[in-house]
């Protein structure tokens, strides 16, 4: 029920902010702030009142009928990964409202209505597990975001907004066809129409075409290499809060889709597709980094770093082992904060200097020392400084990817070097050197300081103490079929015969076999699932018999 509350709070609050905006702009602002703070409060309650049912990955949820003629249901379910992303959404929601406080002066009520609707759509995407409902939420994020960019963006906002809309819409429709095809496959097998994710698991594990339909939708949102071209435009032209939400949340919906839908629904097709997808990921990492280096527009540059960072996520997802997936989840959170902060920084600079052109900046540190320090911090986060969230994420991803595909992991590691170059170059151009701009721009305001402080704290927390995040995500990731769990990230458990039997269902990925064997024999034990390690039978993912592996044992699979 609380999930419905989360969505309704935002939708109704958005309407309220719109109404308040007719009265006065600041009323709309305060309404939006209160609504998002309430949202944060609800998410906090969610954390406190988790009641994981035994053997079920779902921590909270609701299932109800919606369109009984087509057995379309209202299914909102949340597991650990969703919970983390919902938390990210709530936090960034508050920050987005704060960021827009002074920037948006026109039509404020409608602006906050759209902002809160985007948040509602995002939370819907993170929780909807009826594919029809998922598609609805997927599209619902789109229209308010389109309006945000088109109405309150910068100079070329209209073209950018339409480009963004059409890219996402087209890919979304391909996903729609894939959803229909998946439901058809299920119908042909069982004679019942359903769009229930849990029922559709294991319907078409090897269907490459259906997987591609989903993949394209998620790859556009992510964005993966050849489909990323909307992103620099949309990010650059969006208002600051729009960029923050795009980078922080909307890109994450793509990554979330990969983890939630591609791997569990199509484990075999995904395994077959993995080399291509990982290659795309690595191309994204390198290509994004190189292009980022070449940009002169602050926001455009940060946008390309997003392409680079999310390349890591694509690499991780298709490495298909727990280590990499854990890394992907941390990367999603860390990127949300670090890149989001850089966009906020860009917005703050634009407000003060009226330009985003890096060639016209320089020596800003002397003018605005506090902002310079903040920029230094987030640039370090972007380049993956140990101790900050991105480092943990990229480290885990590289470890996992190394086990899946060594050459690609090595290439991806080169991306870290590129990241160092562009991050330092950014600092050099904007904040060091001779002072280029005239006037005395004001240093950070308290409101901005607060925003950056929250993001810094989050990154430090992710970097220094990622264990709670890993723990929260692990039970959900364990149940992703087809993911090899030969190396658990967080706890060591004795080898259990039960798990080896279970793993007979898992998907074999031969190229990783020797490595896995090596690790296992190295210390005579297996890194594995904590719960399974305590001897409990692993619970099925969704319904019985659809891929229940909790540990991937090559030999078990071969037998």
């Amino acid at each position: 029920m609380i999930l419905v509350l989360l969505i309704l709070n935002l939708l109704l609050g958005g309407g309220l902010a719109w109404l308040a905006g007719r009265w006065s702009a600041s009323a709309a602002r305060w309404t939006a702030l209160v609504v998002t703070l309430f949202e944060l409060l609800f998410v906090g309650l969610l954390w406190l009142r988790l009641e994981p049912a035994e053997g079920s990955p779902w921590l909270a949820g609701i299932v109800a009928d919606w369109i009984p003629n087509f057995s379309v249901k209202l299914i909102l379910l949340m597991d650990g990964v969703s919970l983390l992303l919902i938390t990210l959404t709530a936090v960034l929601g508050v920050l987005a409202v704060l960021v827009s406080w002074r920037e948006i002066q026109e039509n404020v009520g409608f602006y906050y209505f759209n902002l809160l609707c985007v948040l509602a759509g995002v939370i819907g995407v993170f929780t909807a597990l009826d594919l029809f409902l998922f598609y609805v939420c997927w599209e619902l994020m789109l229209i308010p975001m389109f309006l945000l960019i088109a109405n309150w963006g910068h100079a070329h906002r209209k073209a950018a907004a339409i480009k963004f809309f059409l890219f996402t819409q087209l890919s979304g429709l391909l996903m729609l066809v894939a959803i229909l095809g998946l439901a058809l496959t299920h119908f042909q097998a069982t004679g019942a129409i359903t769009f229930d994710y849990r029922a559709l698991l294991g319907t078409a594990p090897g269907s490459l075409w259906l997987m591609l339909g989903f993949f394209v939708a998620f790859a556009v949102k992510l964005p993966a290499f050849p489909l990323h071209t909307w992103l620099p435009d949309a990010h650059t032209e969006a208002p600051t809060a729009g960029s923050l939400l795009l980078a922080g949340l909307l890109l994450k919906t793509g990554a979330y889709g990969l983890i939630r839908f591609i791997l569990p629904l199509f484990p075999e097709a995904a395994a077959a597709f993995a080399p291509i997808a990982m290659t795309l990921g690595v191309i994204g990492i390198l290509y994004g980094a190189v292009l980022a280096f070449a940009q002169t527009d602050f926001k455009r540059m940060v946008a390309y770093t997003s392409v680079s960072h999310l390349g890591f996520v694509l690499l991780a997802v298709f490495a298909m082992n727990l280590l990499a997936l854990q890394g992907a989840v941390v990367q999603m959170l860390a990127h949300g904060f670090s890149t989001g902060a850089l966009f906020v920084l860009a917005g703050a600079l634009q407000e003060r200097l009226h330009t985003r052109d890096l060639r016209r900046m320089g020596g800003l540190w002397t003018l605005m020392p506090r902002m310079g320090a903040v920029a230094l911090f987030f640039a370090m986060a972007a380049l993956g400084l140990p101790g900050l969230g991105n480092f943990v994420a990229e480290f885990l991803i590289l470890l996992g990817a190394y086990r899946a595909n060594m050459p690609l992991a090595a290439l991806a590691a080169v991306g870290l070097v590129f990241a160092t170059i562009y991050a330092l170059w950014l600092l050099q151009r904007a904040f060091y050197g001779p002072v280029a701009s005239e006037g005395a721009p004001r240093d950070l305001r308290p409101r901005e300081t607060l925003i950056f402080a929250v993001m810094m704290a989050a990154l430090l927390w992710l970097g220094l103490f990622p264990q709670p995040v890993l723990d929260a995500a692990a039970p959900a990731l364990h149940r992703v079929p087809g993911v090899s769990l030969h190396v658990g990230a967080y706890v060591r458990g004795p080898r259990s015969p039960a798990r080896v039997r279970e793993s007979a269902h898992s998907v074999a990925r031969p190229e990783t076999a020797p490595l896995a064997e090596h690790v296992r024999n190295g210390d005579g034990s297996v890194w594995g699932d904590a719960k399974a390690g305590r001897g409990e039978a692993p619970a099925p993912w969704g319904r019985a018999g659809t891929g229940t592996s909790t540990i991937d044992d090559r030999r078990g699979g071969a037998r």
Binding site: P68, F70, L140, L147
Partner: protein
């Protein structure tokens, strides 16, 4: 009055309500010369149309489909047994009813007879025969009811379309109370109502001649309506074009029907359905009939008249024609194709339909991008929408589609979409009409800054356009979802893929309009737009219904499904 005549009247209740209403309207218009009353006249017309819609829905047959089939099978067989002049010749000539079929029909007939005896014992005779009752048949060939029952039906399929037409008419009239239709407001409304009567006759008819009758009644009214603004060259062009091309389509249709008569000695759908042989002549005749109605629904490449007519004709008439007219065309197509004898040729006409569907979707959407006039843009979008509906018709083709087809998914999707489309498209044209009236043009630029000039209008139009484009939680999306689902379930992946891809293109040009309204500033000196109270109420209702169907499509789907199932399999 003879009970039989009452029974016949029940076949035509909505038509009778509308006809009487239209005549009443004309009478009042003749008696009262004052201009002020004329607006009230249009309102009266709208109320009468609403009443007709209610009548159509009140006639709804709530019994399970199987019970309806028994009755209809009995009707068919009774007619065929009692009508040697019409049926038997054809039947012996074609001899298409296998012995098993004939036995089944006879059994059904007996069962139905028994049923009707029981029913007439249970209900007081003053009620007359039940709507689908067969009591009149026993009266024999000479009775007047015979020809009526032979030619017309009032099954749920016909009724839902009658309701759609009546509602479309009511909305078109309601929204047009302030449209400039010169001095002849009363006649305008009456002609529209007669056109609706024609469409109703069309969907209720079981005989090609009956269909032709309705088609011509509707067309003749529409020709006059298209050329309504006598002084306006565009309107005259629209009228001429529509007259010429419409007559051509009618001619093709009647030629096809005559070929059927040559082959079978009858133009009745049941005869044709049971008797259709795989002869070249039948195929040619069938294709001619189909093509003439593809013309009516403006499917590419038979769409060329649509943009010009839509642009020149009065907006209220266009709103009606583009929704009710299109729906009627599809209803007749479905009625003809559902006659299962034609399924034998499904590969042949399927090819035609797949081609027309793909072309309509492609041409409609791609050409719409370049339109500068919103009415023309909506005309091309209407061509594309016809293509989407054709996906559903294509999906009807394969009778061996498994259990889903028993649930009549494709046909249900078609009816659902036509109903949803009626609501949203009329709304869209109403907005165009209002803006056109107030700013003197229907160019894209007339919509600039509409957000500031008429916020409610802009919001409603945005929702309607998004619905036309197929954005979730609006009725258009659900309709497309069902159509695409039906297409996918029939394995028409390519067609569905074209449909989805082109939906994106359609979003592009709908967004262009939305951009005009929301992002571009109004032209200098642009006035705020006055929306009449009636139009505002109608528009609010339309928008609400669009959203309501989008969020909770269950009821409409159930209704559409019942209508789809009432067609004889």
């Amino acid at each position: 009055m003879n009970v039989e005549y009452l029974a016949i009247a029940k076949l035509f209740l909505p038509e009778i309500v509308l006809t009487v209403g239209a005549l009443l309207l004309l009478g009042i218009d003749l008696c009262l010369g004052k201009r002020d009353t004329r607006r009230a006249l249009v309102l009266l017309g709208a109320v009468i149309s609403l009443a007709a819609a209610c009548v159509a829905l009140l006639q709804w047959d709530w019994r399970p489909a199987e019970a309806q089939y028994v009755r209809q099978a009995a009707v068919t067989s009774a007619v065929q047994r009692m009508a040697p002049a019409v049926g038997r010749d054809a039947l012996t000539h074609a001899a298409r009813i296998s012995e098993r079929d004939a036995r089944a029909v006879t059994t059904a007939y007996k069962a139905a007879r028994h049923d009707s005896l029981v029913e007439s014992a249970a209900t007081p005779p003053a009620d007359g025969a039940p709507v689908m009752g067969i009591a009149p048949y026993d009266a024999g060939l000479s009775s007047p009811s015979f020809s009526a029952w032979w030619l017309f039906t009032a099954d749920n399929f016909a009724l839902i379309f009658k309701a759609i037409f009546a509602l479309a008419l009511a909305l078109a009239l309601l929204l047009s109370t302030r449209f400039p239709v010169a001095r002849y407001r009363g006649e305008f409304a009456a002609l529209l109502m007669f056109a609706a009567v024609g469409l109703m006759v069309m969907v209720g008819s079981l005989d090609l001649v009956g269909i032709f009758l309705g088609l011509e009644l509707a067309s003749l009214c529409c020709y006059a309506l298209a050329a309504w603004h006598k002084q306006d060259a565009r309107s005259a062009e629209a009228g001429t074009k529509y007259l010429l091309l419409g007559s051509l389509a009618s001619a093709i249709f009647i030629y096809g029907a005559s070929l059927f008569f040559v082959e079978y000695g009858s133009t009745h759908l049941h005869v044709l359905a049971h008797g259709a042989a795989q002869s070249p002549l039948t195929l040619v005749a069938l294709l001619m009939v189909l093509v003439s109605f593809l013309f009516k629904v403006a499917g590419a490449p038979f769409h060329l008249w649509a943009p010009d007519v839509y642009q020149g004709a009065p907006t209220a008439m266009v709103a009606f024609l583009s929704t009710a007219g299109k729906a009627a065309g599809f209803a007749v197509l479905v009625r003809v194709l559902s006659a299962h004898g034609f399924q034998a040729f499904s590969e042949k006409w399927l090819l035609l339909f797949i081609g027309v569907a793909a072309l309509s979707i492609l041409i409609g959407n791609l050409v719409a991008i370049h339109q500068n006039n919103v009415k023309r843009l909506l005309a091309y979008s209407g061509v594309a929408q016809a293509g989407y509906v054709l996906i559903g018709l294509v999906a009807m083709a394969d009778p061996a589609g498994g259990t889903l087809l028993n649930e009549a998914l494709p046909l249900t999707a078609v009816i659902f979409y036509l109903a949803a489309y009626m609501v949203m498209n009329i709304g869209a044209f109403a907005v165009v009409g209002i803006v056109g009236r107030e700013s003197g043009g229907e160019e894209l630029s007339a919509f600039a800054g509409l957000r500031a000039r008429a916020p409610v209008l802009a919001f409603a139009f945005t929702l309607l356009l998004l619905s036309l484009g197929g954005i979730p939680l609006l009725s258009g999306f659900v309709g497309k979802w069902y159509l695409f689902l039906a297409g996918v379930y029939q394995g028409q992946y390519l067609l569905v893929l074209i449909g989805t891809t082109m939906s994106v293109v359609s979003m592009y040009y709908y967004l262009l309009v939305i951009k005009q309204m929301y992002i571009l500033p109004a032209a200098d000196g642009a006035q705020p737009i006055r929306v009449g109270a009636l139009a505002a109420a109608g528009l609010a209702a339309i928008t609400l219904v669009t959203v309501a169907i989008g969020i909770y499509p269950g009821p409409l789907y159930t209704l559409a499904q019942a209508a789809a199932k009432s067609l004889m399999p």
